[in-house]
């Protein structure tokens, strides 16, 4: 999907990320997802009269880590109250940063070489979580709303991009790269499905060379796929409107993933309706140089650098290999690959196994270490484990951990001696004379037939490559 020649879309993204702190931004209540409703609250995050906020040092560390990873400048900042009435925010204001954010001016380079400016990345508190009862279950049909304040006061950083993005695919690439950076900085777990990273998209369209059009803000973009689809839909909607003589109205629109459309949520209020004013209960936040430098020194390598490091191990990387490198870095297991390569495993094998076998949720493989991964692949490379066996060992290690060789023994994976395989092949050839004759006369497709028979007889334990070698060796005898 794209706009007609001569037209372009302009996109800016606002990404909210919850920070991986133990406690909330202004009180000592636990910041943990999934607890029983309303069990993590106190007078501060419930907005009870007389309570006073005290800033969490770790949240400041992580906010600065995000800013520094995005090449922004850390500056003295202040907190403001953003006033509005809504039941998920019991104080009737959100503490945020306004004209003096902690991080300003930065950029993010995308894998395709394009650069997107970062206007700011500021600290603020999250709101409670509402669920809507009654009617169709959608917001407008709800009869009652239920509020859980466990999330109220959880630390957030809002990262605002410059309007530098020109396509839905670029927006997606930006969000994916930013997500990787947030995880690498230790600031976020990047889990969009749990709402710990949330994206709003500002979209407008205009004729190239003319001023930007009026923008609309998309909400409810709960995955990278939704983000991309919503932006494409919205740009086309606006183009169709303008091309037919209509006018785009500045408003907030809700993305409906099931129907694949955006719909008006509300007209945009004037910014000053929030009556921002300085939070009188908090003092300035002006991290001294030593604090900033300590955070900078604690930052590990970012995804771009880690991709480059893996790519450098490959001699002439193919597109598929580059994709696999991207996947491995996204999964945060490039360290596994490096450990395997250091242990003498071929780079190709290490990258392929990491990208294909460990593609699931990183939290679902608590037992796997770089060492275990490396040793398993070394056993496979040495021929002690077949490919299938190595994969099974990896998935067993992922759950329970342990020593790969011991795990393989427990699973009953023993190297099948070549003479044992020979004996098995001897028998199979005798049992299937027609198939053997055709293979012997050059029909290579039959190799698959015999390999399959061997695998069935050995319950997958034979090494397919070894079987193939033995078959070839028998030809023409």
């Amino acid at each position: 999907m794209s706009l007609p020649e001569g037209w372009e879309m302009v996109v800016g993204l606002e990404v909210h990320t919850e920070l991986l702190t133990r406690t909330k931004l202004f009180c000592g209540c636990a910041n943990a997802f999934g607890a029983e409703p309303n069990t993590q609250t106190c007078p501060v995050c419930l907005g009870l009269p007389g309570s006073l906020p005290v800033l969490n040092r770790r949240a400041v560390d992580l906010a600065m880590a995000i800013g520094l990873a995005l090449h922004a400048t850390v500056s003295p900042s202040t907190f403001h109250r953003k006033n509005y009435f809504y039941p998920d925010m019991p104080k009737d204001f959100q503490i945020s940063q306004y004209d003096r954010p902690i991080n300003a001016g930065g950029y993010l380079d995308l894998p395709d070489g394009s650069r997107v400016g970062i206007e700011r990345a500021h600290l603020e508190e999250d709101t409670g979580k509402s669920t809507h009862l009654g009617g169709s279950g959608r917001i407008h049909g709800a009869e009652r709303s239920l509020v859980d304040y466990n999330r109220s006061g959880v630390p957030l950083v809002e990262i605002v991009s410059a309007p530098d993005i020109r396509s839905a695919a670029q927006a997606r690439a930006y969000a994916a790269e930013l997500r990787g950076i947030l995880i690498a900085a230790g600031a976020s777990d990047g889990r969009m499905e749990e709402g710990s990273m949330r994206i709003d998209a500002n979209v407008s369209v205009h004729r190239v060379g003319e001023p930007f059009g009026t923008r609309c803000e998309m909400k409810n973009l709960n995955s990278l796929r939704s983000l991309q689809r919503a932006i494409d839909y919205e740009a086309e909607r606006q183009y169709a409107l303008v091309a037919s003589g209509g006018v785009v109205r500045q408003e907030t629109r809700h993305w409906d993933e099931d129907r694949g459309v955006t719909a008006t949520m509300r007209s945009k209020e004037e910014a000053d309706d929030y009556r921002y004013f300085q939070e009188p209960d908090l003092v300035d936040l002006a991290p001294e140089a030593a604090w900033v430098e300590a955070v900078r020194a604690g930052l590990g390598p970012m995804p771009a650098e880690r991709r480059a490091r893996l790519t450098a191990l490959l001699t002439e990387p193919t597109d598929a290999q580059l994709d696999a490198v991207g996947t491995v870095v996204d999964l945060g297991i490039d360290g596994f690959v490096e450990a395997a390569v250091a242990a003498g495993v071929e780079v190709d094998r290490a990258i392929a196994r990491a990208a294909n076998e460990l593609a699931g949720d990183p939290h679902e493989r608590p037992g796997l270490t770089g060492e275990g991964f490396a040793e398993t692949l070394r056993l496979e490379q040495a021929g002690d484990l077949s490919a299938t066996q190595a994969k099974t060992v990896l998935s067993t290690l992922a759950l329970a951990g342990g020593d790969p060789a011991a795990v393989a023994r427990e699973l009953g994976f023993e190297r099948m001696a070549a003479d044992e395989l020979e004996g098995l092949l001897e028998r199979l050839v005798a049992e299937h004379p027609d198939e053997w004759r055709r293979y012997d006369e050059g029909d290579d497709k039959l190799a698959q037939f015999f390999t399959g028979q061997v695998m069935r007889a050995t319950r997958g334990q034979a090494d397919g490559k070894v079987v193939l070698d033995l078959l070839r060796a028998r030809r023409g005898r």
Partner: protein, 99 residues
């Protein structure tokens, strides 16, 4: 500085969800205007070389360590709610979404 208008006071009152009748609107417009005029006296001073002051205390970087403290008992918390369902605060239905 132009004197504060009744319309501005009415707008701020509406945003703050404060109902004012005509007499109150008149009275508060007058009172608020006096406060603003008093503060506007500062405009007579040359403050070009004075850095903005965020807070009179002169303090900065008041932070606490990231250590969990006990939260309130849920029964006690929910006792404050106008209505409760599924261990949550039940409120009249919400039109639209938070800004």
């Amino acid at each position: 500085m132009a004197r504060l208008s009744r319309e501005e006071v009415a707008k701020v009152a509406r945003l703050a969800r404060i109902a004012l009748d005509e007499v109150e609107l008149e009275r508060f417009t007058d009172q608020l205007a006096q406060v603003l005029e008093h503060v506007a006296d500062l405009e007579a001073l040359d403050l070009a070389d004075v850095a903005p002051t965020a807070h009179p205390h002169g303090l900065a970087n008041v932070v606490r360590d990231d250590e969990v403290r006990a939260s309130l008992d849920r029964a006690e918390v929910l006792a404050q709610a106008p209505d409760v369902a599924e261990d949550r605060f039940a409120v009249p239905r919400i039109i639209g979404e938070a800004p």
